[in-house]
């Protein structure tokens, strides 16, 4: 039978209990322990066939306890924040420690947090107003063109409240709102069906829609679906590829970003291992990971280990400069932390992860870049990407792309995967536009079974040769 008392949330746990838990966690030895308290509320709406088909909501809450002893990590979590359950988790995590030396935990004090986003979430909008947003998107997508036959619009939002304490004396607290709107449209003509999709969001409230309306995403999805009705076979083989600004920055995420995460490099598993200081990109190519950009999907005030996020230069003017660090790997590699320790939830161990990863703008006119290509591919929108960090081979799948014929856009092509080699694809960057754009805010990144929200960005970029996986050989 249900208990009559509401369960405790992270806000109910006093600092004195946190300090006691950290002591328990280090009671068998170990150099470091941390606590990640999380309370998350979510809600979402799905509109389909002109009706709000369903709404859903949820709340999860829990504590993850980590004990680090050299290269070893012990981890336990609980969704019950009673003292007994939390103490059990701390003792379970403590079992991993093998070294008899204990670094005694320090008294915990709150660290100031520099805020990059507000606490207001879209979830605070009355339900009727959130419904109105998706209905606007649906109407706009269907009104775009009579060939649009199906529209799905969704709005998902969450607010995560975290309290992170560690044995080095840090206490960080953050409120992390996040939402995304997504629209997908299917257009049909003469038995041919094509799909378009668009979406956006960030760590902010309804003011987001003052700049980018639901109609903007709806029309974008509908435009893509209708445009692709005229698609022809994609070419096969190596060729010049012009990447449009914004979301095609997924190239950087797959080709270099994952390979520069510290865990892979510390263990010698990455195609970039031991290559700091070497040339991995053409002159002019500068790639950064920046978790501090206001209101962005990939941004955080503090990472999921409680450390301030930052701006890390990964590649500067073509030279490999640095890795993305979390506490464990930064400590073992004796390198400074970069605020990239992230986890999916209290049930997951932190890993070094990207935040917002992008290439800085160059000076060229995007039109000139396109005109410089006699024959090639112009890739405007991508679906997912994936990388094998060891061999360096990566793919990303173009969902909206066009042939380039004599420096001008030709017909759109069927979806095609592009494949390349991370350590050298950026050496083939020959022109960089002045039009850096970040994506609109719907990116998710998978690593080690954990998903976290990320951002990417790119100016118009010409890569002299990438293998395009079309059907027309």
């Amino acid at each position: 039978m249900p208990q009559d008392e509401r369960a405790r949330t992270p806000a109910d746990v006093p600092v004195s209990e946190m300090e006691k838990l950290l002591s328990r966690a280090l009671s068998r030895g170990g150099s470091f322990a941390d606590l990640y308290f999380e309370h998350e509320t979510t809600s979402s709406l799905l509109l389909e066939e002109e009706i709000i088909r369903t709404g859903s909501a949820g709340v999860t809450c829990g504590l993850g306890v980590r004990v680090v002893s050299g290269e070893r990590t012990g981890y336990a979590y609980t969704d019950d924040l009673s003292w007994d359950a939390m103490a059990r988790a701390a003792e379970t995590a403590a079992h991993i420690a093998s070294d008899p030396r204990t670094v005694p935990p320090q008294a915990v004090t709150a660290a100031p947090v520099q805020r990059r986003y507000g606490e207001q979430s879209l979830g605070e909008l009355p339900l009727a107003e959130r419904i109105a947003l998706v209905e606007r998107a649906d109407r706009a997508a269907r009104a775009f063109d009579p060939r649009v036959e199906k529209v799905i619009a969704t709005l998902a939002e969450e607010t995560r409240r975290v309290r992170i304490a560690n044995s080095a004396g840090l206490l960080a607290e953050d409120v992390q709102p996040l939402f995304s709107m997504r629209v997908s449209a299917i257009a049909a003509e003469k038995g041919v069906r094509r799909e378009g999709s668009a979406g956006g969001g960030g760590r902010l409230g309804p003011e987001f829609f003052e700049e980018k309306s639901p109609e903007h995403f709806a029309r974008e999805a509908a435009r893509m679906a209708v445009t692709l009705l005229g698609a022809v076979e994609a070419p096969a083989g190596p060729m010049p590829v012009v990447l449009a600004p914004g979301w095609p920055g997924i190239l950087l995420h797959e080709a270099v970003g994952h390979g520069l995460e510290a865990d892979f490099n510390r263990k010698g598993l990455s195609a970039f291992s031991g290559r700091i200081g070497e040339r991995v990109a053409a002159p002019g190519v500068t790639v950064v990971d920046d978790g501090t950009i206001a209101d962005r999907r990939g941004s955080l005030n503090v990472d999921d280990e409680g450390n301030a996020t930052g701006r890390t230069v990964l590649i500067e003017d073509g030279i490999l400069k640095g890795y993305l660090q979390d506490r464990l790997n930064g400590g073992l590699m004796k390198m400074p932390l970069t605020g990239n320790g992230r986890r999916e939830s209290y049930g997951s161990v932190p890993l070094p992860r990207m935040t917002n990863t992008f290439m800085l703008a160059g000076e060229e006119d995007p039109e000139d870049i396109l005109r410089s290509v006699p024959r090639g591919l112009y890739a405007k929108h991508f679906g997912g990407g994936q990388v094998d960090i060891t061999s360096g081979k990566f793919v990303f799948s173009a969902t909206e792309a066009y042939l380039i014929e004599d420096g001008r856009l030709g017909p759109p092509v069927f979806g095609a995967t592009l494949i390349g080699n991370g350590p050298d694809v950026l050496t083939k960057v020959t022109r960089i536009g002045h039009d850096l754009r970040l994506d609109e805010g719907v990116g998710m990144c998978q690593k080690g079974g954990q998903s976290v929200p990320v951002g990417v960005g790119l100016p118009t970029t010409l890569v002299s040769e990438i293998t395009v996986g079309g059907t027309k050989a």
């Binding site: 009559d4 981890y75 094509r194 096969a236 049930g347 081979k393």
Partner: protein, 445 residues
């Protein structure tokens, strides 16, 4: 199974709050994992958790919610908010619980085996260590991404206001090894794994380590091949991915959304007559087995594609109402949201040809052992994926191949399957034998 009373209580609360109907899922489980790298424990994780998801209907309007807080005030508020949310959604003629329910059957599918949780922690670590050690001792293996042992137990209760109340327990266990090799500046990794309900289902750590090492070493020396059109042989794991795409394309949801290249295709030959697709929700010890589905309907052995002919779309109650079909016991449900369609134990029926003969019958072509990317579009059938494998000349594997893509259209690819292997082997809930596709575009140098 202490949560049956909670379920009954919650359904009453939902009714009292104004719901005309409701169903709910209560799940709890334990999780253990350990990763060993270079012989040392790297990460050890152990925990238990619980959660509850409820779906309510107010007339033909619906909403759902989930929580890990099982206290009465929290549940009361959750139920009231969910009913409030349902009232704000649109009337949907297809919404609702199943039309008819039967009580859960008492069938033993051997989904729970206590052996993984009875194995002492030290022994779990030792098996991971052994798997990795065998790989690391193999000549040519130079590094390791680690070996992982994982196990878990779970139990669920599903109940609804039509009087259904059922529950079951499950267990699972797995071992994987990921070795790495380096030669002439080229680094490669591959993996092997074994999984099942209990220890007796597993390959030995030595086998897993040895196969992982072999798979890694055979990637060394890989190069691109020139862009061409040629036959492509999919190894069982690669073929299973293709099979998954076919399953998505025949989901009732894809059909009413016009989001499949196989719309209006029931009764038609959509694939080679060599292909028969089976989704068996009741395979003994199968990792996809369960006595009833996510709506409480009895599971069964479905054959949606028989000798190339599409017999029916795979539907839960909602999709079935949308397209005028019947639910087939394939509803999948998580804690958040309502059910959708998902596979139980999915496989292509094996053929009679040994895989060596399938490769042997190729004059010049590609043998694919790994696919990466997201280039499969079931709306249009467009298919374009990154691939790793071996080049075939005169029926023999010659050299490893990488940094290429294979592309085609699923519609044609399924019809172009001209050989099906006799090598069906379940490792996980879905499996395929080796398949050969007559012709695809290979994009390389």
């Amino acid at each position: 199974m202490g949560y049956r009373d909670l379920a009954t209580d919650l359904l009453k609360m939902a009714r009292a709050a104004g719901a005309d109907a409701a169903d709910l899922l209560v799940a709890e489980g334990t999780e253990f994992s350990v990763t060993v790298r270079q012989g040392e424990v790297e990460t050890l994780k152990e925990a238990g958790s619980k959660g509850l998801g409820i779906r309510v209907f107010v007339g033909k309007r619906t909403a759902s919610s989930y929580t890990s807080d099982f206290s009465r005030p929290a549940l009361q508020r959750l139920v009231e908010e969910t009913v409030g949310m349902a009232r704000a959604t649109g009337e949907d003629a297809a919404a609702g619980l199943p039309d008819e329910m039967t009580p859960p059957e008492d069938v033993d599918l051997a989904m729970h085996d206590p052996s993984p949780s009875e194995l002492p922690t030290e022994e779990r670590i030792e098996r991971a260590r052994k798997g990795e050690a065998v790989a690391l001792e193999t000549a040519g293996i130079t590094n390791s991404q680690g070996a992982s042992w994982g196990s878990g137990e779970g139990s669920i209760i599903l109940a609804n206001t039509m009087g259904f109340m059922g529950g079951y327990r499950t267990s699972s266990v797995s071992l994987s090894v990921v070795p790495q090799a380096e030669r002439d500046g080229q680094m490669e990794r591959d993996y092997w794994y074994t999984t099942g309900r209990g220890l007796s289902d597993l390959e030995t750590p030595e086998q897993v380590g040895r196969i992982a090492a072999e798979r890694t070493l055979r990637r060394l020396g890989a190069k691109q091949v020139p862009t061409c059109q040629a036959p492509v042989v999919f190894d069982p794991d690669a073929a299973a991915e293709l099979m998954g795409a076919l399953f998505s394309a025949i989901s009732g949801y894809a059909v009413f959304r016009n989001a499949t290249f196989l719309k209006d295709a029931v009764g038609q030959e959509i694939a080679s007559p060599l292909l028969t697709l089976v989704d068996d929700g009741r395979m003994h010890r199968g990792l996809g087995a369960r006595p009833f589905d996510g709506e409480g309907l009895p599971t069964r052995r479905n054959v949606p594609v028989e000798r190339g002919v599409l017999r029916f779309y795979v539907c839960d109650s909602y999709a079935a109402r949308k397209i005028g079909a019947k639910p087939v016991g394939s509803a999948r449900r998580g804690l958040g949201g309502g059910p959708g369609v998902g596979a139980g134990n999915l496989f292509f029926e094996p053929g009679e040809t040994p895989p060596e003969e399938i490769i042997g019958g190729v004059e010049r072509g590609l043998y694919v052992t790994d696919l990466i990317g997201f280039g499969v579009n079931v709306v249009t059938g467009d298919y374009s994926q990154g691939a790793v494998g071996h080049w075939i000349e005169k029926g023999t594997l010659t050299h490893p191949v990488h940094e290429i893509t294979i592309a085609g259209n699923l519609n044609e690819m399924l019809k172009d399957v001209d050989a099906v292997g006799n090598d069906l082997l379940f490792r996980g809930s879905s499996a395929s034998p080796t398949l050969r596709i007559r012709r695809m575009t290979i994009s390389g140098s």
